[in-house]
Symmetry: C2
Subunit: 528 residues, 2 copies
């Protein structure tokens, strides 16, 4: 496929008149062709007004066409072939195997949402039949369904150029809900974004959908993003990125004449709690798993473990020593951008300079540009709870081992944490009584609790929660991964006493889409 | 029962040290005893910290105890007897029959939520079983449930001293979710609030629950309310009241170090669209129904119809004349407070003075204080769409008849509306083709669409939506009435690979609470 260096607005290539930008190869710091033109705010309104125009037809699509459209996007992404992996590798420094896995996750996610669309539970159909003879007052026939919120602005993440970007989880769940999407491309992987954008646009065309269903825009990062969120046609926002950028979008959305929901996934330390029982087994293996979780993808994962609590005493010493050995064998991998590598250095320097912090172990810098030496720091709970610097996320291959002397200390440290995406327990059956009181404390701080695994590797399923209390996300009531993510883009509407002729299809008596329904408060299953 | 004039903080009578206030009889403008002491911000933190302490035990209550507790509140409210109706009548001017109906609604609501708690679908249990043999990677066992957000601040409405107040819909749904409640009493019906508060406190005691599960506080309106929403122990807000107050709470909640959701139900014009077919029947009956909906409870209902669109020409003239006759037979009823009556006068004066607005008909002022003459104004769509004054809610017995010449004009007027709670169509089968394009336009503006009924009388059921786009509410994704309201106070948490011993009860394999579950994406019904 040809990449053109322009936005794709409602199916058309649109050259921006607001300057240009380039992708960069972070392994060499070299500029990548072509130049990408940036749109102006005036050009932006074409995309948003076309998205608004697309709502009426797209939001009422029949389930089979709707699902097949999502599958076609997946097919089209696969059809790009190696070109996509090569370009994404050049723009991000991520290895091909990782990108191939991420592509499979992206297409799998689209196909999972196709099953959600066919199955129809997200429509939330509830029917309270009329009770004409009820006293003292009769009851009218009342029906409820969930309708799509409207056009959604999606901002991709730098660290998942496929799975959390152009056709990633936010786009897939918004399109599955029936919301048109205006996607703000990440300027760190513009070519990858355009290739995937073309795959989406082709599916829109092939299915004869309104072209406003999807637009991909390149613009000056912060300003065009703010303008997009402020645009009255936009009704919700999906974002994955930094806390500063996410909070700025939350503020803009809250200050609109009509405030809208922002679903921002922002930052997380992902604490791991190691209990003594877990250290009576293969400590080297445990240490290696931890170091792999810290250094994989150069540590640039939302769920990379930034904190590991280990007991004081001999067993904890053994773990710390094993971690030190494991990390010293690691070479740095290219980070996503020069800026991100710079932030990593600044964060690691600040943490290393904090009172009570030492170095448990360190790897070596990689042979490319922007590939700093992975580093594990060490401290004690008493220092951790009193210094906010030790609570700041370092995006990249760094982590902090915190030694604790009692479960009470663990609970105190947990209570002092800000909101996180995950919390992990490493334990054996002998530790259950100690761990039991930590579980409810963790529930108040995280969206997902893991036992004897690692938080990296976020399964895309029905039960996944990739979310958590602020500031891990902007809205703790949701998840950005898994099928529950579709609920973010829906709202309920009730229909009282409507004749069949005026009822939406999903609410009609004959139930043409065979959706499951809640009838008078009781589940009625109509499929399987 | 004795009313003491003090807050009820965590089960104890707490005299406020921040001054006093009184209820007033709006029919006479006379002060009602006793004086109510107002708490200070220092006293407030006792209530909020007790609520935080109560979370651990209350959020994990077994369903049967939890449901029986809600039913006990209902029983205790009924046990107050006529004293409650008398006091509420004195404080609000509302007639006894209306208050008896409202009491039945309040206790029915609590009992409905008891069934929701026993049934358990609100726990949102999802299980994706482990797939150890999956390639390329095995899948861990992942389970999801919804947990209560934490302590909830609830603000009661002036116009429903029982059903949207102390133990009203917000309190009932928050308690059902497992959230402790700190209720800010409405200073316009302090005695009613205390009587119901004592009923709740008695249930908390009788069930041996942590006393922090419920507190009722009296304080200086705006300042204590802002302090309550800003309190770090509070995790969500339920509010029914004015747009200005609701927006002020939204701003405070968004500006917290940890922003929290605010569910504010604020204002609505509740447009009614009359099609020609509906005017070929009994026009006098239709006019009478409209006037009854406008004037019932002195027009002080969230869903009172503030706009009625009628066709131009002979049929519409006939309706306008019938409306004029019906309203002229109406006498004013006492409004809730002197302040509300004053606002009604100011709003009616502004509307009457607007260009292109005349008077369709007017009743007579009532014999009591604060009982203004119900008034129906008239105008044309062309004036309505260009003057924002005609879009402002007049809380009380006033409404505006708007004459239209085509369905296109109706759709244009609908597109110009702000968010509303409801939209109503009056029509017959011959009007279906004309009405069909209005339905999707209305969906974008309202939470509930009604055909051939009236928006007043909000059924408390499973399918009800009492919500709508901003500024009707602060959060269009929810409803404040009906069983779906419980979802406002929950958030999802995932549990990956937890042993049975550490899993919450609702997620355990043996399913002790017999909840319905989504297993691998398929509904598994375990009760009926």
């Amino acid at each position: 496929m040809t990449i053109n260096g322009h936005s794709l607005i409602a199916g058309e290539t649109a050259a921006g008149t607001g300057g240009t930008t380039y992708g960069f190869n972070p392994a060499t710091n070299e500029q990548l062709d072509p130049a990408y033109t940036l749109i102006t705010e005036a050009q932006l309104t074409t995309a948003t007004s076309d998205a608004a125009d697309a709502y009426a037809s797209f939001s009422t699509l029949d389930p089979e066409t709707h699902a097949a459209f999502l599958e076609a996007i997946a097919d089209n992404i696969e059809a790009i072939g190696d070109e996509l992996i090569v370009r994404a590798g050049l723009e991000t420094g991520l290895p091909a195997a990782r990108l191939q896995g991420e592509r499979a996750r992206t297409t799998g996610q689209l196909r999972l949402f196709a099953t959600v669309v066919r199955q129809g539970d997200f429509r939330g159909v509830r029917i309270d039949p009329a009770l004409p003879d009820r006293t003292p007052l009769p009851r009218a026939d009342i029906r409820q369904r969930q309708i799509p919120l409207g056009p959604v602005a999606v901002f991709g993440a730098s660290n998942f150029p496929l799975a959390f970007s152009t056709a990633g989880g936010d786009t897939a769940s918004a399109l599955a809900a029936g919301c048109p999407v205006v996607f703000k491309a990440h300027n760190a992987h513009p070519g990858t974004g355009e290739l995937v954008g073309q795959a989406v646009v082709k599916a829109v065309k092939d299915f004869g959908l309104h072209p406003g269903v999807f637009s991909l825009i390149y613009g000056p990062g912060a300003s065009i993003g703010q303008a997009l969120v402020a645009d009255p046609a936009i009704k919700a926002v999906g974002f994955t990125g930094s806390q500063a950028a996410g909070i700025a979008l939350m503020r803009t959305a809250a200050a609109r004449p009509e405030p809208i929901p922002v679903y921002a996934e922002m930052s997380s330390l992902n604490p791991v709690f190691v209990f003594e029982g877990a250290l009576k087994g293969d400590v080297d293996a445990l240490a290696q798993q931890y170091v792999t979780a810290v250094t994989g993808s150069s540590g640039q994962l939302c769920t990379s473990p930034g904190l590991l609590f280990a007991p004081e005493g001999e067993l904890g010493d053994k773990l710390a020593a094993a971690v030190g050995r494991a990390i010293s064998a690691c070479a740095g991998q290219t980070m996503l951008t020069e800026g991100i590598a710079g932030s990593w250095h600044a964060g690691a320097e600040a943490l290393g300079a904090a009172a009570g912090v030492d170095i448990v172990g360190q790897g070596t810098a990689g042979p490319t540009e922007n590939a700093p030496a992975p580093t594990i720091f060490g401290t004690q709970v008493r220092d951790f709870v009193k210094n906010h610097v030790l609570h700041e996320e370092i995006f990249g291959a760094a982590s902090l081992v915190i030694r604790y002397s009692s479960v009470e200390e663990l609970i105190e440290a947990t209570n002092r944490l800000e909101g996180q995406l995950t919390g992990t327990l490493q334990l054996t059956a002998e530790d259950y009584p100690s761990a039991a009181p930590l579980v409810p404390a963790l529930e108040q701080k995280v969206g997902r609790i893991i036992v004897n695994g690692w938080p990296t590797g976020v399964e895309v399923g029905h039960a996944m929660v990739h979310g958590g209390p602020f500031p891990a996300t902007s809205d703790t009531r949701t998840t950005s991964v898994g099928t529950l993510a579709i609920n973010r883009f829906l709202r309920p509407v009730a229909y009282q006493n409507l004749p069949q002729e005026l009822l939406p299809t999903s609410l009609q008596d004959e139930n043409p889409w065979k959706v499951n329904r809640l009838v008078d408060g009781k589940p009625e299953l109509n499929q399987f």
